[in-house]
């Protein structure tokens, strides 16, 4: 459903994402993990069409995001890390606007909106203006608007930020069910417990390169940490990457360090491909 083909993206001289090749099929929750500045948000922005890759291509359901951004948008629902809502619209009006933009008929939109209001428990405040919402309330409205048009792919950047425990449970169940019903979920998160709980596969990104791509169980096997938590595995994997780069830099300067890091990445990618 989601496909990255040798995607690279730079910010000036710094490479944010390097040669990323990845697929996330329907029926799967894919958790995208990595330390701060690893390139997760860049990847997501490229996926939703806000950034254009400098190399490679991205497609959603076979639609090229760069060549047909509008068609690609129709297939996905996007929940950004910083939710945007029109202050002077209510949640219901926001959902009406979004449903209208997706070309939903009046009856169809009204039904879908009511379902989302019920699902995300927006009933208590959905007719109040958004300017008075807390971060968590806004996040729930954004989730509802991302799902109101019945997308095939949901892209979520940091889904749990600002949500209370009940809302977190709600979102986790929803994403899991969405995938079980055939949709694809691409989720970036620092909350490793969430990834551990609902993700079918994880991708670990560091310094713009994909270190690992596969099931958590596979990562345990690869790192010989049979009982290790995802947090422990994640730290071990990313520290190895940092150590390789630091050692290489100490021995032979930055040029060689880059090559050694790339070698480590290569190994990581092999692991992922395996």
């Amino acid at each position: 459903m989601i496909e990255f083909r040798n995607v690279s993206r730079r910010y000036g001289k710094r490479t944010a994402v390097a040669d990323l090749t990845l697929t996330a099929p329907g029926g799967e929750v894919f958790a995208y993990l990595g330390p701060n500045g690893a390139g997760k948000t860049t990847t997501i922005k490229m996926l939703v069409g806000l950034l254009q890759p400098h190399a490679g291509g991205i497609s959603i359901g076979g639609v090229d995001v760069r060549k047909q951004p509008r068609e690609a948008c129709r297939l996905l629902g996007y929940v950004p890390d910083q939710p945007f809502l029109y202050d002077k619209l209510s949640a219901r009006e926001t959902l009406q606007f979004v449903a209208g933009m997706y070309g939903m008929g009046q009856k169809e939109a009204a039904d879908a909106i009511e379902r989302q209001i019920a699902t995300f428990e927006l009933g208590g405040f959905c007719d109040r203006l958004s300017e008075g919402y807390s971060h968590g309330m806004k996040q729930r409205v954004v989730f509802a608007s991302a799902l109101v048009h019945n997308p095939r792919v949901v892209v979520v950047d940091e889904p749990m930020v600002g949500l209370d425990p009940r809302s977190m449970r709600l979102v986790k169940d929803l994403l899991r069910r969405f995938a079980d019903e055939g949709g694809a979920v691409f989720m970036s998160t620092h909350t490793l417990s969430v990834a551990d709980e609902i993700a079918d596969r994880i991708g670990v990104l560091s310094q713009g390169r994909l270190l690992f791509c596969g099931a958590v169980g596979e990562l345990r096997e690869r790192l010989a940490e049979r009982d290790g938590s995802l947090e422990r595995l994640f730290l071990k994997l990313t520290e190895e990457m940092d150590d390789d780069a630091a050692t290489a830099e100490a021995l032979a300067g930055p040029a060689l360090a880059g090559r050694t890091a790339a070698a480590a990445v290569g190994a990581g990618q092999e692991m992922g491909d395996a």
Binding site: L89, A112, R177, E181
Partner: protein, 613 residues
């Protein structure tokens, strides 16, 4: 929940995807129309219910401003009609004045719209959201362009309409002149706004990394060119004021704005044709010509909009991506000589105040938006003051006028400073509120924060302003001929600077807007507007209180008694032309400055103590 998502999934997908470009475009148009209506009416309803007083003040002040402009323009056009009896010559003069006015507005609108479009398209959360929706990019560009035009047009209409209505009344224009005003002005605004939008996208497409420098250079170049042309118009005229030769030379110097390819020329020609009550000759049909100019403006406005939207359709996503790709700043935080200088100069202040001032100076010097605007405007003023020598002041009669020009320069410095205090000082407390977890948890009194802002603004602005006024007085010959007047200018300048700082800091604490994180939006709100208006009133009063007695003192000295205008009573003698009057004026200015500093600060401190974050 399972059932609900399942229902969503089972819904026929084809129903959600409308086919047919025209149908989709109509749907989008309807949705955006709905969106805009909702947002505007909600805002109006909110103002009407919760901010009635604020709205009344704003509307009242705008009306007052409009009426003031109307009165000035009406009197000017009546004067013109009385001074120039030959109708074609009068029309020619009016045409030249309109050309200059609309040409200047054309440039200003292009620049301001370019900046507004940059912020609306590339710095807005709304566009980030809309780009992830299945919406035509044309629609997004068009939506934001309409906003930019609305932003630009209201100021233009506020300034342009009193002038044009006054002109229409002074020449007894037919009714269709007034009917054509709005379509002509609106279509005129669209053309430079579209050009500004295109230039904005061009800069970001070609050189995203240097966009700010390019824009700043462009603005500085335009301001410099405007200043040069203004000086050329009014300063270097060698002939006697208002003589025939002077008029002829002035007319000649206005010709640069008469390019027939400029929309400003179309607008001024169209309006003047529409204002003609009777045909000048048998074949002359003014209404037909005015309609032709209206058509020219409307068609060009439509064309410019279409070009902008089409180019935006192709360029918005790549431009947005390029701009996002610039990455974050990697600047290292370095200490500077300025920091050490501030530390040194602020040593008499309490340590906490000193530290807060140092922090604000650091934020100021590291924010190019702040210091570049300050540098550009004050640099240009310095340029103007240095070149002011070109005025003829050898004539003894003009000496007191030189003093008046000195006071006018003081008022200009004050007015420019008031825009800075409104834009940068007034929002400081509101912005500080957002990071109040730092300051609010420190073991300091809250008023220390306000005092530090006041000293930062007052002591930061007074020395450069005083230096500018000194340059102005020096170049005008005031320092050499009447040093007392130069001293009075300095006292008035310091009083102005401290008063403006007090008003901005006090009102900023009394009327904070904690929900906004953009200083520009905070400044554009009710509190910012009130700050600007009060600052303007304060400046006018301050300057008048010293300028009027100064003028009469010099007049009395030159002409042995300015009180000849009035009955020669002790009261008029005291009021007009005595040193006592001058001393009283200076004392009143200092007192007013103290009141403008202390009262708002006091109100601000009391409000700030009670403020909950």
């Amino acid at each position: 929940m399972s059932a609900s998502t399942s229902q969503c999934r089972d819904a026929p997908r084809s129903a959600t995807v409308l086919r047919g470009g025209a149908k989709v475009a109509r749907r989008e148009q309807a949705m955006f129309w709905w969106l805009r209506n909702r947002l505007v009416w909600r805002m109006v309803a909110e103002w009407a219910t919760s901010s009635r007083l604020r709205m009344s003040i704003l509307v009242g002040l705008s009306l007052l401003f409009w009426l003031g402009l109307f009165a000035v323009f009406h009197e000017s056009f009546v004067l013109l009609a009385n001074s120039v009896s030959h109708e074609p010559t009068r029309a020619m003069v009016a045409h030249k004045i309109f050309n200059i006015f609309f040409f200047a507005l054309l440039i200003m609108l292009a620049v301001s719209s370019g900046i507004i479009m940059y912020s609306a398209l590339f710095r807005s959360d709304e566009v980030r959201f809309l780009l992830t929706q299945p919406i035509s990019v044309r629609r997004i560009v068009s939506h934001k362009f309409q906003e930019a035009v609305a932003f630009s047009a209201w100021g233009f209409l506020l300034m342009g309409s009193p002038m044009l209505i006054a002109y229409g009344m002074s020449v007894d224009a037919p009714l269709y002149f007034y009917a054509m005003l709005v379509p002509m002005l609106v279509s005129f605004v669209v053309i430079p706004a579209a050009c500004g939008g295109l230039a904005c996208m061009g800069v970001i497409y070609v050189a995203p990394r240097f966009r700010l420098r390019l824009i700043a250079t462009l603005v500085a170049a335009l301001v410099a060119a405007g200043l040069y042309l203004g000086l050329r118009l009014f300063v270097m005229v060698q002939e006697n004021l208002q003589g025939a030769a002077w008029l002829s030379e002035m007319m000649g110097r206005m010709e640069f704005a008469e390019q027939r390819l400029l929309p400003s020329w179309w607008l001024s020609s169209g309006l003047l044709q529409a204002a003609h009550n009777e045909p000048a000759s048998a074949g002359d049909q003014p209404w037909r010509d005015s309609v032709m100019f209206l058509g020219l403006l409307v068609s060009n406005a439509m064309m410019a909009t279409m070009v902008l939207v089409e180019i935006g359709h192709r360029a918005l996503r790549p431009c947005y991506s390029r701009l996002q790709g610039m990455g974050g700043s990697n600047r290292r935080a370095r200490s500077s000589v300025l920091d050490r200088l501030v530390r040194l100069l602020a040593w008499p202040l309490p340590p906490a105040t000193r530290l807060l001032i140092e922090k604000d100076v650091r934020l100021f010097r590291r924010d190019p938006v702040q210091w570049s605007q300050f540098a550009i405007f004050f640099g240009l003023l310095a340029l103007y003051f240095i070149n002011i020598r070109r005025f003829q002041y050898d004539d003894g009669m003009l000496l007191r006028w030189m003093n008046m020009i000195g006071f006018l320069n003081l008022a200009v410095v004050g007015l420019i400073l008031s825009t800075f205090t409104t834009r940068f000082i007034f929002p400081m407390i509101s912005l500080e509120g957002r990071r109040f977890w730092i300051l609010g948890t420190l073991p300091i009194h809250r008023e220390t924060i306000l005092w530090s802002k006041f000293w930062f603004a007052g002591l930061g602005s007074a020395p450069p302003c005083a230096a500018l006024i000194f340059i102005s007085d020096w170049m005008l010959g005031i320092v050499a001929t009447t040093p007392v007047m130069a001293l009075i200018h300095q006292v008035t300048c310091w009083s102005l600077c401290l008063g403006l700082a007090g008003i901005a800091v006090g009102l900023g604490a009394r009327l904070p807007d904690m929900r906004q994180n953009s200083p520009a939006r905070i400044a554009a709100g009710y509190g910012g507007t009130l700050n600007l208006v009060l600052s303007g009133i304060f400046i006018v009063l301050t300057v008048l209180m010293t300028a009027a007695p100064s003028y009469f003192v010099l007049e009395a000295r030159d002409l042995a008694g300015a009180h000849r205008y009035l009955a020669d009573t002790p009261a008029t003698h005291f009021l007009l032309g005595s040193n006592w009057a001058l001393a009283a004026g200076v004392a009143a200015t200092v007192l007013l400055g103290a009141v403008a500093t202390i009262v708002p600060l006091n109100i601000g401190i009391r409000a700030f103590r009670r403020l909950e974050f």
